[in-house]
Structure formats: C-alpha cells, structure tokens
C-alpha cells in the first residue's frame, strides 16, 4: 500500500511537465509568453480597457499629438489620427483582428495539416503522392504573392483573409506531420497496435498523433508570428480588413500620408505589431528549446 503511495509523485513527473518546467525556467521566453497573454487579454477586454470609442471621429482632435508632447491631451494618450480617432483605443481594438486572424488561420491550417500529413505519412501510396504533389505546388508560390493574388480575386474581408492565408499555411504543419508519421509508423508500439487489429483511423489519431504533437505545436506557435505579419501586410496594402475596422496594418498605412508632421499615427500601431510578433517569436523559441531538444543549437 505504502509503496503505491510513494510511487505516485514519480508518475506525475511526466515529460510534458518536465518540458514545461524547463520552459518556465527560461525567463526571457516565459516573460515573452506573459506578454503574449497580456495582448490576448487586451483583445478580449478591449471594450473595458480602451479609453475611447475606436470609431468615434472628432475633427477637433484631428492629428492630436500624444499626451507627453506639446498640444497633447490626456483624453488621447497616444494621440489621434487624421479623423480624430483615438490611436490607443484603435490599437487595443486592432489586437482583436491580429490575434483572431492569427489564431483562426493557425487553427484551420494545423487541423488540415495534421489530417493530410497523417494520411500521407501513414497510408502512403497514391494518397501520399497526391498530397505531396499538392504541397510541392503550393510551396512553389511565394507566400505573400499567393495571398495577394487570392485577395485580389476574392475581395477583401475577414473570412477571405483567413481563407487566403490558410490555403497555403496548412502545407507547413502537413510536412512536419508527414515526416514525423513516416518515422513513427515503423515503431514497435504502432506495429503492436496494428497486430492487435486496430483500425487505421485509430492508429493515426490515437497512437501516432499524441506522440508527434509537440513539434506540431512548436511549429504552430512559430508560424503564428508569421501569419500576424502577413495579415498586417495585407491590411497595409488595403487588401485586408476594411475600414473603419481598426487593424494595425491599415493604421500604419493611414499614417503614411502624415509622416512629415504627425509621426505618431504610423509609429504606434507598428510598434504594437513588433511587440506582439517579437514576444511570440521569443516565446516559441523557448518552447522549441524546451520541447524539442533536436532543434537546440
């Protein structure tokens, strides 16, 4: 009896926990993860945090400088844009677009990538040929050009951006999953499951998938940073979310006309993109080092 009780904490020391502990110990990465969480909270609670209505225009406050500059007003901490809208409030609301699109694209792409990668790597044969060819073809497009071409054809809009980015993004998790599956399917425990008569579906989803999930999650977090920059780039070109919806890329574009006298219009939204993307990049590098020692330099 006492033997069982003593062994319990040992069993709790799972690989996941050990990796997680290694991640938390990496202070820079963990701090960055907290920054990412803060951005997410800011996006969720935007209506309560934002000092002003992000869509309310007030031409009296047109191109108002930030509060610490001469002529600044405490009502507009980071100043106002050309329509007299509060830049800080628009940045807070803009986080919703960046994070929602980033998360949605990664979720859709990773789901498709996992299913396609498992099918290609486990079933092999013609399924693998078809999926791998499609992957090769999609890799033949420079990412942004592919997305721009699709947006040009589909027209702007939230759903279309997610589609345009996900159309190509799934290829990346798919390649990772396929590669891992090719190795894993030859392992003894998979062979054992096959010998016990488990179905292909069961083996792919229950035996293989849980064991290859950590590189997939690591790749997903790294890619999220890319997707956020891509979305901002599309919005900057005017192909993304349409005005008046606040999106960081479009806000930077708005400020381009005023770089001579009103530097703050472009600068702050861009800073928000940089901070979020940098935090995701640092955090995902920490995740990678903790969870996938193969990648460690």
């Amino acid at each position: 009896m006492s033997v069982i009780e003593q062994s319990a904490p040992v069993a709790a020391e799972s690989l996941f926990r050990r990796n997680m502990a290694a991640f938390v110990e990496n202070r820079l990465a963990f701090g960055s993860a907290i920054v990412v969480v803060l951005f997410v909270l800011m996006a969720i609670f935007a209506p309560w945090i934002a000092p002003n209505d992000p869509y309310a225009t007030n031409l009296f406050f047109r191109l108002q400088p930030p509060v610490w500059m001469e002529g600044g007003d405490r009502a507009y901490p980071l100043g106002a844009d050309a329509l007299g809208r509060c830049i800080l409030s628009r940045i807070i609301y803009g986080a919703r677009i960046s994070i929602f699109i980033g998360a949605a694209v990664i979720l859709v792409a990773t789901t498709i990538g996992i299913l396609a990668g498992l099918a290609a790597g486990y079933l092999r044969g013609w399924v693998d040929v078809v999926i791998s060819r499609l992957v090769d073809i999609l890799l033949g497009f420079p990412y942004l050009i592919f997305a721009i071409g699709l947006m040009a054809m589909m027209g702007p809009g939230l759903g279309n951006i997610i589609l345009a980015l996900a159309y190509k993004e799934w290829v990346i998790p798919c390649r990772v999953v396929r590669g891992e599956t090719l190795v894993t399917r030859e392992l003894e425990y998979v062979e054992a499951a096959r010998a016990l008569g488990a179905s292909g579906k069961h083996i792919m989803l229950r035996e293989i998938l849980p064991n290859i999930l950590s590189p997939v999650i690591v790749v997903a977090t790294i890619r999220m940073a890319h997707v956020i920059i891509l979305e901002a780039s599309l919005s900057f070109l005017g192909l993304g979310v349409q005005p008046p919806t606040a999106s960081w890329g479009a806000m930077v574009a708005d400020g381009r006309a005023f770089i001579l006298e009103s530097w703050w219009v472009s600068t702050f939204p861009g800073l928000a993109i940089l901070l979020l993307v940098l935090a995701i990049n640092v955090a995902s590098q920490g995740l990678r080092d903790a969870f996938d020692p193969r990648f460690t330099e």
Partner: protein, 337 residues
C-alpha cells in the same frame, strides 16, 4: 551530382510548374462575378467593345479549353491586353521588371555582406555580449514588419535628417540623357559615365534595399552562426590549429568555406521570398517596379496583369528553389538529391 540526377530533378519541375499555372488560372476563373463587367467598372464602353473584351479573354469558350489557351499563350509570354494601360500585359511587365530585379539584387547583396561577417563573429565569440546583441538583432529582424520599418527609416533619413530622397528610383532631371543599356540604373549611370546620376540612384535605392533585405539578413546571420559553430568543432579545424595555422587563416579560409554551404543555399531560397516583400517595400518607397504595379493593378481590377505577374513570380520562385538545390549539391558533394 551526375547529369542524370540533374535531368531527373529538372523533370520534377514540370508537374510543379503545371500545377502552379493551374492554380493561377483557377484563381482567375473562380473570381466571383463577370470579369468583363468588373474590369469595365465605371468606364463607358459600347456593347461591341464589351463583346471584344469577352473574346479577347476567351470567355466564350469552355473552361478546359481556356486553360490550355492560357498555358499556350503564357509559354509565349503572351498574357493578353492590359486594358488599363492599353498595351500588352507582357510589355508593361517587362518595363517594370528591371527596377524590381535591381532592388532585389541590391537587397540580397546588402544582406549577404552584413549577415556573413556578423554570423561568423557571433559564432567565434559565442555567448559574448556581441553574440547576444546579434541574437536579439536577429529576432528583431524577423519580427519587424517591413512596411513599418520602411516608414520609420523614411521619417528619420528622408524627413528629419533630409539626407535621402522620399520616393522613386532617380530624380527625373538627373535621369535625362542616360542611355539605358541594361535598364539597371546603377549600371547604366556608370556605363554612361554619369557619376552624379549614379550617386542619385544609389541614394534612392539604399533605404528600400535595406528594408527589403532586413529579414534575410537576420535569417542568414543565424544560419551562418549555426553553421560556423558546427564547423569550428570539426576535426579538420582542430587539425589546422595543431598545424599551427594562424587563427585568422583558419577562420576565414578553412572554416568559413564550409560554413557558407548552408548560407548560400538558404540565401537562394530567401531571394525568392524577397519577391513577395517587393510588393510591400515598393509600395512604401514609391519604387516604380513590378511589385507596386501589381498592387496598383489590383485596385483598378486589371486582372490579366495580376494573373500574369503572380504566375511570373511563382515561376521565378520555383526556379530559384531549383537552383538552390543544385547549388547545394555542387557545394556539398556528400548530399544526394
């Protein structure tokens, strides 16, 4: 690499290029709405003109036939008429292409010549302050949104310091009387012996090229650092040290030569992604290249041009990746394709 392997690899390009053209064609064919109506927009056209447009686009024929016509025409670099410019699409594209190539090449050169020395130094002084700064710089480089960084550079160097021009490729007045031998301004100005114009063109290209090359610089620096760290642990470096060769000689002759293998192939692949960055950077800096033309064409719904440009970019990208592979095997004979 044997010649047969090379041919095999070359043949593998065919399905990819075919697939790429199918996708570009489908992109266009699935556009909701009537493309002719969309292209006409607010312009006033006679029914005859409209019917002519429909015939020019081949819209009166079945989809599969249209694809093969499109493919056949594309192989002859015929992409139809740009209604907006009232000239063939291919002509408009060729006119803009040199500016884009020039910008891309300069960006690539800047990236290579800063990334390699920085990467080597970071590896040699591993865990030093310099290495840490380089690591942080590398992370910043891949996290900076190019369009924003470009605007910041413009605000600093063009607006506040007034050192560099805000937009364009060269001042109109200075560009007069230069014979365009190559259509690359940096070369043409020198061939014409016009050093004033060369300086002017250089001043125009420097900010966009730095902005465009920044992510590539960051990536190449990391690749060089990692490769160099690996090489410095290799036996032949220890052997070279044992022979008593000077540190500099070991670093720059023995180690770097091998460390550059991954750098060079990553550089070839990354040059392809510069193509995408072009659209953004050319828009920010008013650079009269193909990227900006595509973005402008989207807004005037000049679809034949967008389609042709996307196809062209994809083909260049596929070819660059192909050359990257070939280069890698030539440089590193141990690798088999």
């Amino acid at each position: 690499m044997t010649f047969t392997r090379f041919l095999e690899r070359l043949l593998q390009l065919i399905p990819v290029l075919l697939g790429v053209s199918v996708i570009v064609f489908v992109m266009m064919a699935l556009t909701p709405g009537d493309p002719v109506q969309i292209m006409i927009g607010d312009q006033i056209v006679t029914p005859e003109q409209e019917a002519q447009m429909r015939r020019d686009l081949g819209l009166d024929r079945p989809v599969v036939e249209r694809f093969f016509v499109f493919l056949g025409n594309a192989l002859q670099f015929d992409f139809g008429q740009s209604f907006y410019h009232r000239r063939p699409v291919s002509e408009v594209i060729l006119e803009r292409l040199p500016a884009t190539i020039e910008l891309t090449v300069v960006a690539m050169l800047i990236a290579l010549f800063t990334a390699i020395p920085l990467g080597v130094l970071a590896a040699v002084r591993k865990n030093s302050i310099f290495d840490r700064i380089a690591t942080v710089g590398g992370l910043l480089g891949v996290s900076l949104p190019g369009f924003w960084f470009g605007i910041l550079l413009l605000m600093l160097f063009a607006v506040h310091l007034n050192l560099l021009p805000v937009a364009g490729r060269i001042n109109y007045g200075i560009s007069q009387g230069i014979t365009p031998y190559t259509h690359f301004l940096l070369i043409d100005t020198l061939l014409n012996g016009r050093f004033d114009a060369f300086r002017n063109a250089l001043a125009h290209i420097i900010l966009p090229a730095i902005t465009l090359g920044l992510p590539m610089t960051a990536i190449l620096m990391r690749v060089t650092r990692t490769a160099m760290l690996e090489v410095l642990r290799a036996d032949y470096v220890t052997f070279a040290q044992a022979k008593g060769l000077s540190r500099q000689r070991i670093l720059w002759r023995h180690a770097l030569k091998n460390a550059l293998i991954p750098t060079v192939s990553v550089a070839a692949i990354e040059t392809g992604s510069l193509l995408g960055g072009n659209m953004i950077i050319e828009t920010v800096f008013g650079w009269p290249g193909l990227g900006r033309l595509v973005v402008e064409s989207i807004f005037v719904r000049n679809y034949p041009l967008v389609q042709a440009a996307v196809l062209l970019y994809a083909v260049i990208y596929v070819m660059l990746n192909f050359f990257a592979d070939i280069l890698y095997t030539i440089l590193n004979p141990r690798v088999k394709l």
